[in-house]
Symmetry: D4
Subunit: 248 residues, 8 copies
């Protein structure tokens, strides 16, 4: 119920002020003692809640997984470990795990992937983060083109795939080390570029800080940046943009 | 001409290999000795080139302004000073200057503003950056809703304008100090949020670093971040997203 | 009106759902076009809104000052410049300005100062920040003991005033350079210590970062830290604590 | 004995100058060769000494534990490992260990918990730090309300528990990632907010630095910050504030 | 084929525009699904592609190794682990591995080493990085003089080898801790000095940042710096300079 | 005299041990009370000493300028101000000053410029640093190609000049903001690339730190980096490399 | 009086407990309302108090200067401005000011300078900091050898003065940029080296941070570091060491 | 031989110029292929060379240990691991290892410890670093007073030992967390204080950076700082100072 509907029921006497107060305050989440599942999120944002598995206690992970599966009929977990996969598989034998992207999921069959985004990487070492982005976007119904290993030390590799990239509604540029890929992309496409710095590199890379600063300071236009290694965030945002292009 | 068209003319003998080589390499910019104007940018990205006025030499600024005006019939300059305004005004009396956003422009009349984006600020001190974003987006044909001074220390101010914000195709969240506005926005809307950290604050704010880190680390989804005080970049990216929503 | 009162009036038919919705969303602030004054703040937090004058446009400062004076009968402005003082004095001849703390205020007469807090500094250069803390606390009705220049390079100076410090409900420890005063205080008193790092120092002090890190890492208990040079924040928080001790 | 009492006894001839000098210098701690237990701390600050177990040598931990148990009849250890628990349990079978908060303690029975503080977290991953805060406060006699998983990406979860939070004498806001919870709290309550940044997060979070800077720069009032993951410090300070509210 | 050759064939009708377009875009790399081998690199830069082994998946490493061996008849891998060595050895029994420099290679016999570069270290702990530089340069045909353990805390050690150093076409100065070796070298030789900071050290060394800053800020002339521990980059660049001196 | 020559004269009795000791220690500089001019530098390194004018006291600047002019017949000063130019011009009317590069010099006529280096910039704002590099290299006898405003946001501008760049013995890549130009260069040329980060930019650029980190972490080969804005250092090092290519 | 003397008088009845308590607590400083002059410092540490003039209010500076002159018959002020000199000169015509070191002092005649310390700089730009060190040491009675402009880019300049340096009881090494001088010194002398980083430099020097890290991480022994530009601290510490060598 | 002696022999014909040149360049170290032992160090600095064992290869460690034992009859190794101890013990059964300080040594019997230094720690966790300092100083012949666990959170513990501290020729203050101990010491003693920051702490301590900055910025006089956890450096420097006090 919207706020207006609640207030109208109070006016009509079909809802008491106390109950309304409770509804205004509590609508939209399930109390689970240790956690508050945000089950109203899909209505509010168009995306169901997702599980960030990293460091979740086993018992908590299982209960949250179960609850979300019950609510949505599918579940996406990110940053899952092999042992978490094995834990969940005991209860949900149909669960799928990809050790590269570390995504753990049960996904509805026959999901349609619409529109188009391009997920690009500078090197092969950036692929795990790119896959987190790509599979997140696919889970949320987006069609993804993967264009990997097109970093700036060999620009001709990028140019040979440029037409595919230029047709996408949104480009996700994933790069570690100095992260120059995002700037180059920004100069070549007319659509938004989401830059994802990765922690790939060593020395003065400082675990991704160098790539992050590169992307934030880009001289090219139409670029915004997410956290280091945050493939999930990029896939989510690219989906939002792709949906707008689809008129959703 | 596209690459294919050039190659076809070579095949047909209407273009020599040398001329074609030159065209493939040089198409799309004007050599101005000290600068290379990227006049092919509009065709490539959908946006004409813009002048970043800060620290431009007077002579350079005037010539670039003149050239772009000649090419496009309108010009947008950012980070312009009062004295640069006076300089340009001598030659272009119709030029407009806004000391708050520091935007210097000649704009075509009867420009249509379509779609909708929301530009929000946490405090009044963030307004100059927000205006740079808003006026950039308007220059590129976007309809802008301004919602200022809705920071998290008084959340009810934000909630009272929430419906307007939720209807926008893209939200620009401008905030200094701790920059928490972006995270709160991310939890409330279904459309992309472009976070703009500002250098407003003092002490451990470190000229905007604190707000930048907050926004990059946001626990909310659908947020990407541009450079500190980069209103122009946010207005540009918001326009790209708004155009997608308009089917452009 | 509380949420419950609003809902009860809706139930009783004395308030329409639309009006109630507006009230729930908008209660407590005044729209001033460029700013949203949080006039409900005093009811919500027990403290009237205060003006952070730094970089406020003249016109904005005057209007906000006027509005708050109208609402509260007194106004506190922090980080005000001499020229802002002269601006406000034209309209409010009774306004007072202290160039040391940079506080600009009109204060009600016969204000009672209750309880006790101690504001201490390591050196004389920290006094401007300490005065911002002390005068803020006094404005909000707190009795303040000032104990200045008692830094750790001459501990006997501190010990000679220790009894006064130990009787306070809250100690504000203001120090730049290495900021060791807060740790020493924490080991000597039973009440909360609010540590205020200042930007006093040079070199590897990095504009207060050194003192901030010292205070955050203190080995002593009962210490919490505010931003560099944030005397206002310390005076506000000390007042909250002092009020609790007074049973308010 | 106070300094005055010691001096009076010297005057009366019941204490020699040498003995008095020793007392003035040595009163209040026990020499243990490698450590100096601060057994006078309770009289001086109202809190018995606590053991920070991290990296303590086994032999040292056991002896300090034993000594404090002898002095106080109860002991609180923080940051204890499972193996330290097993070590202590051999000698003190009644010792209790909580692997979540890593608190190791023997606590007197029938302890009264008075007043009220609220310990809140942004996410479930922040709970270990929150429990260190909550159990520390409880050990020192404070009544604690736990309100977990109310982060800003789903504000309605926080609002549904707001009345409980607003009744507390002090709010402990525990958050990692961008740490925006503290700012939101500061705008909603009239009592002091102790902000605890946690190291939860990844990438540009830099092990809690991002949350720390957010909290230090908060635009809301009445907030002070402790070290990253310092639940103990927050629980201690919240107890000091709660005791003031109880007139202690 | 060069661009001109391609265009001439189009003109002559021996190449279709479509095929030419594909060649212009794709010439010079091999698509391997997950990676794009830059086999045109040797023609373009004079150096064959090299494998950065760190974190490469076993399957990827083997395939890339095989492909490069097929193309070049020799392969250089850097940052290889013992287990990667064992993996590759199964297929290429002739592969060589140096656990100090972590270089894994198959090298053509009877390679000539020309010119001269000097690779110097401050201490013995810097030798692994120095060996990566030296062996990389040797692989690319450079003659290398190794001068190790000549740091500034005992300058006479350096002076005794100065004539050898001064005869080199390029000096690689490898140093951790405070990295002063590069500055001293810069004042003593007339040829370029490539400074390589290492992560050797502890405390405020911050994993090589201290040495990096020292080298970047050197008061001596003729010094440029590569990434922390980047022996490979230094050996590559020294080879480029040595080749110029050889008239190549 | 070399060490060997000195020792031989001692052996032959034509030089006393005391005089020899003094020569071994003092050869090669002129004591000027406050400074020690390194007049032996040209013999040792092939480059005469240069004056870093920034913050030099007027009296010192004049004396050092005079002395070097006396020794070499020409002088190069960097980072000179307009007022320093006017000061020197009073005594040396033939002195030349370029306000863009801030170079102040008297240069011998008919100097030959040999070999070839390319000095490239990403934007027009980087030109002052590029000119310091170019004019330094020219002063030391190097032929310089200037290729300005070829940054990565419009890659076609760079490609159109690529042949000139590829023919140079050394490429100096000057870029601020995110500094991606150096990486792109590294992938396109076979000669050494000297990367010069500039302080051009704002926000998270942190006065050139972002560009510096980009360049240090470059994924391309054959790149080394000098200090932020250090055009002089790049011009010096490029000259050293160019001389090697010329067989000098 | 020592503590023992006070207690003995209490025992003997010649001192009341109250008076004794006051003496124990207050001995050794003069209350000046805004400051607490530490006039007991000379007895406690062997050095009279010194005035850090930077940012002192005029009125405060004059009063403290007067008081110290009254107590000691001489005064040393550091970091004084020209206008502070003029202010003090009105009242004390005999005051001396050195604009290079910014030292403002009245010094007793016929002061004896004993022992020997060496104050060395890397460049001429480091001389102001070196003079602050040297003149501070001289004020406290130390004989100082000045050895300036002996930085590592021309090591022979340093070696020619080595015997003087090796005879000093303590060496003060003052250097900016990369600060390598301290490490070189540490390897050449048997006495303590006090390293003083200066803010001389630009770019990645970060206002002296680079030199500070170099000195802290030195691979040479017998080096300790003071704050950036802290000549006073170095002169003070060198005097302490020199006095020990003199048997004082 | 000194330089003068060498030159005199050349003059007298008892030494050839070539042999003299070699001596001037090579005197004072032993070439060991991978390392250059600085066996002349004792004559030059008064201290024999010491082994920094961390990460030394087994073979290198054994050979260097053997060589130094042969030269000096005793050896001091720092940062040794248990397994390195076992390795060395096989060859030198008399070797001693202290797992707390990680010092591995063979020490001459009946060594005299002269003078006095005080080594103090803030907490028990700082003892390993303090022991490295103390045992280093003892190895070099210094008498050491250990005063541990006297941190500023319980100042009375420090005051009870103050007389011992004040009698020392040099005070080593070892502290982690916020490192305030050094400042307090500086205000209480007349002799040099060597501050040693330790990495003890967590969160915003940043592995000792907080304590390092505190000590570098100390408001007290007579303090200089060594690297984080550098007990060896402090013990060495304290010995140098103690020797001066002994007239050595």
């Amino acid at each position: 119920m919207t706020l207006k509907e609640i207030l109208t029921q109070v006016q009509q006497g079909t809802l008491s002020p106390d109950a309304a107060g409770t509804m205004i305050r509590q609508d939209g989440y399930k109390e689970m003692d240790y956690a508050k599942l945000d089950t109203g999120r899909k209505a509010r944002t168009g995306f169901a809640e997702v599980i960030y598995c990293s460091n979740k206690a086993d018992e908590h992970l299982l209960k949250i997984f179960e609850r979300l599966y019950h609510e949505e009929g599918e579940v996406l977990g990110t940053r899952a470990s092999q042992s978490q996969y094995e834990l969940v598989r005991e209860k949900f034998p149909q669960v799928q795990y990809d050790p590269l992207s570390r995504i753990l999921k049960i996904e509805k069959l026959d999901k349609v992937h619409e529109g188009k985004i391009a997920v690009c990487t500078a090197g092969t070492a950036d692929i795990p983060v790119a896959e987190e982005a790509a599979q997140t976007a696919e889970y949320f119904g987006t069609h993804v083109e993967r264009i990997y290993d097109v970093g700036v030390s060999g620009m001709h590799r990028l140019f040979s795939r440029l037409e595919v990239i230029q047709e996408a509604n949104c480009v996700v540029a994933v790069a570690g080390m100095e992260g120059a890929l995002a700037s180059v992309m920004g100069g070549l496409v007319s659509r938004p570029v989401i830059a994802v710095p990765t922690s790939v590199g060593y020395g003065a890379n400082f675990h991704g800080l160098s790539a992050l600063l590169t992307m934030i300071n880009s001289c090219a236009n139409g670029i915004a940046t997410v956290n280091i290694d945050n493939g999930y965030g990029a896939g989510y945002l690219a989906t939002q943009i792709n949906r707008l292009a689809l008129g959703k």
